[in-house]
């Protein structure tokens, strides 16, 4: 049964049809890939799912609930966390504080509890801190906890974004080009990290240009071109699909 269901999603920017009637379903527990040439509308689909954009038409449902055009923070609380294609960390804050941002929606203390320093608030903070440290350990950044986010290497910044997303205890994590800017070693580690995320019972939806990673990590793929879905299925099938091959040869065959 599917955890995320995207139906006839359409988004226009002025005269440009960025996403054109796209539908797909992500089964629970899967690692699911969204691929396509540059400018195919992949990130726009992500932004529509996470409520950053409002679709012109179509719907998104998650966990059997309609979440179309809900506020982003609400969607995160509902269980969808994401990372960004262009890294968006809180650059001047400590690595650990960045992860705490992810914990935010699972905590309850408000301003009054904080000003009065209630014991409940104190305990909650300590638990959040422990949880954040555990997520850092999970992605392998435990020794960087005190460092400022902007001082991390590019690959580590991507890992930190993943840790921050995981800290919100998502049912689905959306990774937008997680291997972007990583070297081969880091990419290989990322493949195993994605497998470990899946092993935690978290469904993974990702956009990636690195085809070797996609083929290794994903069980199912959807291919977009010019905002339209042109193919869908397991990687082995997609590889042989003539439409897909043409789409990639038409732009940059290097990726494939």
């Amino acid at each position: 049964m599917s955890l995320l269901q995207v139906d006839n999603l359409t988004k226009r920017f002025g005269g440009l049809l960025a996403v054109d009637n796209v539908s797909f379903a992500v089964p629970e527990g899967a690692v699911f890939g969204l691929i396509g040439p540059n400018g195919a509308g992949k990130t726009t689909v992500f932004n529509l799912i996470t409520g950053n954009y409002e679709p012109n038409d179509g719907s998104v449902s998650f966990d059997n609930r309609d979440i179309t055009a809900r506020p982003t923070h609400w969607i995160v609380s509902a269980g969808i966390a994401r990372t960004f294609q262009t890294i968006r960390l809180f650059a001047n804050m400590a690595v650990i504080e960045n992860v705490l941002a992810g914990c935010h929606c699972r905590l309850r203390s408000g301003p009054v509890a904080s000003m009065l320093r209630l014991p409940r608030q104190h305990k909650e903070e300590r638990q959040a801190l422990a949880k954040s440290m555990a997520e850092l350990e999970f992605v392998g950044l435990l020794d960087q906890a005190d460092n400022l986010a902007r001082n991390l290497s590019y690959g580590n910044q991507r890992l930190l974004e993943i840790a921050r997303a995981l800290a919100s205890d998502p049912k689905l994590i959306i990774l937008d080009e997680p291997a972007g800017g990583m070297n081969e070693l880091e990419t290989a580690a990322l493949v195993s990290l994605i497998a470990r995320i899946q092993a935690r019972g978290i469904t993974v939806l990702l956009i990636e240009h690195d085809m070797s990673l996609v083929m290794k990590a994903c069980e199912q793929l959807v291919v977009l071109e010019y905002g339209k879905k042109i193919a869908g299925g397991p990687p082995a099938e997609i590889k042989k699909n003539p439409l897909v091959i043409e789409a990639y040869l038409g732009s940059d065959d290097e990726d494939f």
Binding site: H73, A81, S109, E125, F138
Partner: protein, 326 residues
């Protein structure tokens, strides 16, 4: 080096607090009154700091909230004789409600647009006060005959005995500093700093950015409103003059020059911007010119203010090994 700085920090703060507490014993009435003004502006700066410093929202209409608090106090006190200090919660509530209503539709505006709209807001409030809106604000003359505060039957007249008033306002300032420090170092303060740093990332991490922005506005306004009570009861009269756009600029400068997002910085900012012109009385007419130049120069050489906040550190070494697990 770092260690040494850390070691002198606590005694330095202690010395400053001690000097502040005993100052009225040695300086005359005039200078005690200057300190009272510094304290009032420190309160205003701290309340604005929640919106501007932590939240990063360019709000230049803070005097409007201050005015709502002061006028609420003046109107209720002169009409029904309710003791002024009892009116502090009422003034805070009125200012907070006002903020809730006016901030809600403008909260999503980008930095410079927000700045312009808040300037518009404070101007409309001032014009409304001058036009004697609802017939209760006394028009351009304002409201006279506001009572002095009294604590357990002891009258504190801010004009006749500034030293008495000094300890009242200092007490409120101390409470404010402690509460705001706790607020800064909490989930709430963290959320504001996240959205200040990158709003899209904050929202994407599950933070209700619009809600937090509104909450920051309301908390800042509540405190400005309560400070309005202190001001009205100190002066005995208030008029629209005291809540002009220029007042908002002064509060804004206190936060920006002192160190946006840092309590110590805001306190320093208040001392410099309110205190320094008193010391250089001869330069009175150049005061604004110098402020303007200072703003320009600061933005080029030290845009984060004199005392910028340090990145927050967390007691991760105090966690037990068994706590850190998924």
């Amino acid at each position: 080096m770092k260690l040494a700085a850390g070691r002198i920090k606590k005694p330095a703060y202690g010395a400053i607090i001690l000097l502040w507490m005993i100052a009225p014993l040695f300086i005359g009435k005039y200078w005690t009154d200057v300190l009272n003004n510094v304290a009032i502006y420190a309160l205003l700066g701290l309340s604005l700091n929640i919106i501007l410093g932590y939240g990063g929202m360019f709000h230049m209409g803070h005097a409007a909230f201050y005015a709502v608090g002061a006028y609420t106090t003046a109107i209720i006190n002169t009409a029904w004789g309710v003791p002024v200090l009892w009116l502090m919660p009422a003034a805070g509530l009125a200012a907070g409600l006002f903020a809730l209503v006016v901030a809600r539709p403008i909260i999503h505006l980008r930095g410079d647009y927000l700045l312009i709209v808040t300037i518009g807001m404070v101007e409309i409030v001032r014009i409304a006060l001058i036009n004697n809106v609802f017939g209760i604000t006394g028009g351009a003359n304002g409201i006279f005959g506001i009572d002095s505060p009294s604590v357990f039957g002891f009258q504190i007249n801010g004009i006749v005995a500034p030293a008495h008033y000094f300890y009242l306002v200092t007490a409120f300032l101390a409470i404010t500093i402690v509460l705001f420090y706790l607020l800064e170092n909490s989930r709430f303060g963290r959320a504001l700093k996240f959205l200040c740093s990158d709003e899209v990332a904050a929202e994407g991490s599950g933070i209700n950015t619009a809600g937090y922005k509104l909450a920051a506005f309301v908390i800042g306004a509540v405190w400005a409103g309560m400070t309005g009570t202190l001001y009205a009861s100190k002066m005995g009269f208030i008029s629209p003059e005291s809540f002009s756009f220029w007042e908002s600029v002064v509060m804004f400068m206190i936060v920006i020059l002192g160190g946006s997002g840092n309590i110590a910085g805001v306190l320093l900012g208040a001392a410099l911007i309110i205190g320094l012109p008193e010391i250089f009385q001869g330069l009175q007419q150049y005061r604004l010119l110098i402020f303007g130049l200072a703003l320009m120069i600061m933005m080029i050489f030290r845009p984060q203010g004199i005392l910028p906040p340090k990145p927050r550190s967390y007691p991760i070494d105090k966690l037990e090994k068994n706590e850190v697990s998924l």
